[in-house]
Amino acid sequence: MARWLAQLRAALRSIVRSRGAERDLDEEMQHHLDLEIEERRKAGLSPEAARYAALRAMGAIEKSKEECRDERRGLLVREFLRDLRYAGRALRRSPGFAMLAVAIMAVGIGANTAVFSVVNGVLLKSLPYPGADQIVVLRTAALTTGQINPLVALANFSDWRAQSSSFDAMATYRGGEAPVTPGDTAEFARLSNVDVQLFRVLRIDPIVGRTFTADDANPDSEQPVALISHGYWQSRYAGDPGILQRTIRVGSGLRHIVGVMPPGFQFPNRTDVWTPQTNRTASRTSHSFLAVARIKPNVSLETAQAELNAIAARLAQQYPDSNKGRGVSAVRLQDEMVGNVRLTLYLMWGAVGLVLLIACANTATLLLGKAAARTREIAVRTALGASRRRIIRQLVTESLLLAVVAGGLGIALAHAGTRVLVALAPADVVRVTDTAIHGDVLAFTIAVSVLTSVLFGLVPALHASKIDLVDAIKSGGSRAVAGGGAIRMRAILVVGEIALAVVLLTGAGLLVKSLVALQNVELGFRPENVLVMKATGVRSLPENNMFFGRLLPQVAALPGVLAVGATSIPPGDLALSGDGAYFIDRVPEVRDRNLEPHALFTIVTPGAFGALGIPLKRGRDFDEGDTEDRPLVAIVNEALVRQSLGGQDAIGRSIFCSWDRKDAMTIVGVVGDARQRSPGLDPVPDCYMPYRQHAYNNNTLNVVARTDGDPMALAATVRRAAAEIAPDVPVSFTTMDATTSKRTEEPRFRALLFVVFAGIAVCLAIAGVYGVVGHVVQQRTREIGLRMALGASQADVLRMILGRGVILATLGGVLGLIAAAGATRFLETTLFEVKPLDVQVYLGVAVLLGVVSLLASYFPARRAAALDPLRVLKTD
């Protein structure tokens, strides 16, 4: 053990030929010399003579120093260093090859590591809560259809909690942007109203103060309280150590801050302010809360689920009106959070895996080409007495050097790539911003490249043993020997590369076509040049209504504003609330109120349809006369008419919506269908209601103003106007283009990734084709010269060589298209209005592939055709 350590230390010290070691050596030799001189002087020689004699006796000091250095390094290290020097020299001799090989491997390593690091950061890393795998999300399930509603009804949840024994803690929560006033100015913050048990479910303790207690849940509490996030503490209270004496205004109520949560903790959904849930209205029909629970350590998810099933069955018996056919579904929080983005991440992974394969194949073809070119060099070295082992080691060192350089570059690429991915990816895909480079995968990809490069770097060495030396040296070049086999192997690899590239290219084609379809879909509204201002009234309903009632005409009067209105659901908003069952011409019994069909309920002001660009098809728009004391009215869209009225006239019919008011409304108008929530989702039945008749939810409205120019240019003016009317109303601005395109971010990201990876793949494959065809030309120069001498025209030669390229491309293309037909099935759910077997896309890929591979073979073919037969035959 100790000996090993000593050896290692000595070897290491010698590799880094440190100044210390050199000085030691000098001093040691000097010491020896001094003693030699001294001895001779004692024997009676003069200083001069003694020195001279000593030097002569000692012999070549520098030579022994070098031997000492060698001895210190040890044999293996010594030979390795020599190999490394040779390898460096060999690679410098063909810089083009070296750079290409390094670049290809680096791209493979870098892209793979970057993508995997992101995938790992999102998919595989567990949530930052202690015992995170015990945390589950509870959701309402429709037992007959199997449909899952992420929201739960509070009364049901209370029963689950009271009757179950599988859980340590259970909590409901809901949240969103809400008006808060941390100091003097009102603003929107992400606020969550949470059950006091939430922090027990997550097992997170505050860094300052306390979390909520059971007392905080008392609705009549004298001292309403709030918790804030670490970030909010820093940014809004400047990290004030006396934070527990400070207050925050949430809505219209002042709250005491009782605690600050640790940095990074913002559950749910980037929350900055938490308030305790006091709402105890026990409804079984209003599903409006999300729920999480912590399973006891020794209880399995299955046991917990079984217990919940039993409770739900009891509740269904007890309250058939509301709970018949309703169950509970528990899934791990980790799975739930990752659910939607998993597909995107797996696709990413698949794509980049293909790129790595292609990169390896390409490195292999490069090395094989190189091998053929080096046959002669190796033959000469063998003839001069180099052992086969020696040559193999030399070649392996070269491959290793390539792989190591590529690895270094790959790490740099991976770093940059991770950052780019995180920046480009929609917020929903990469929730975790800390996606550090993943060590394991970096090691894996580097190992793959090293293996590829070593394996194929060895080919020439293995050939070397079979080479007929005389022949190889005489043939004067890279021709003849080892050629045929290497070309065949390269050709197979290139066909594989093309096939893989075609798979990626097809995927990219499908995603791009789908994206184009998505961009061009009939939205039903016009998002261009529309300013969206979110505002939340914080006072009583009449005052809030007055705010919007006064603001809208002022905005309408601004120069450049074409139309203005306000809506509770700005297009692109995926908020979970706001839909429910509706009934035409009857007021249903309570038990029916959860039945289908469902519609999306939107509160709008007069003029909103005009500003949104939703066409009024029949009847009238709302007007300022539709007030609280007037008969209730509603406007529906054509989808609702189609679904429930079978094309009959809707005007004058009555509609009941199981929402905030228990009265029927008269339908006064029909508007066109709009893809309000997302361009990718088909329009659903919509029921619009005038803002003055509905208290619920309309203290938050989004003012939409259609302008004739850049809408954001108006933001400052509108903000001033709003502040003049009510300075305590928080406002925030965006454009409808932005909110709408947010919903296409994910498909755009997927398409972009595939295009980039397909691009890389095609470039690599083309380089492969070029390399192989070039190799063929080089190999057959003599034959071509002979053919030309015998009367073949340039066109014949061109055709012959191009033919090689075409064969490669056709084989690879056909294989690739077949593979793509199988593989693109995985894309099906991500495609919009495009089938995985879209003929256009497949044709396009085939044509593109044909063109580029012809181009790639054209250059070597032209070189062949331009050969001078006389010179070729003479020189050989």
Partner: protein, 109 residues
């Protein structure tokens, strides 16, 4: 000056180890000691000595450290390690066997 007697490959290592088994020593002193003990028969030049020392050190049989010598100068002292001590015994035994075998043949013929 006569050419120093060539040492059989590997013998120098044994001699060095053997000498160092008595006490730690610097390079020049080792050479001197070998010469004295062999009655001036064996003369080890620096060109053979130092590479051997460095090799033994790399093999982990000896270690080195700088110290002040009797003549009050900085010198590099070599000493046996634990594995070096084991090696001395083995090498010595090998040598005994070898030289005995050679002597037998030499005497017999």
């Amino acid at each position: 000056m006569s050419k120093p007697t060539d040492l059989v490959q590997g013998t120098l290592d044994l001699l060095i180890l053997k000498i160092l088994a008595l006490e730690r020593m610097h390079g020049w002193a080792i050479a001197q000691r070998i010469r004295q003990m062999s009655g001036d028969v064996l003369q080890v030049g620096q060109s053979a000595l130092y590479p051997a020392l460095h090799k033994l050190e790399r093999q982990g049989w000896i270690t080195s450290e700088w110290d002040i010598s009797d003549t009050n100068r900085r010198a590099k002292y070599y000493a046996l390690t634990r594995s070096g001590r084991k090696a001395v015994a083995e090498e010595a035994a090998n040598w005994e066997r070898l030289s005995a075998a050679i002597s037998t043949i030499v005497r017999a013929v």
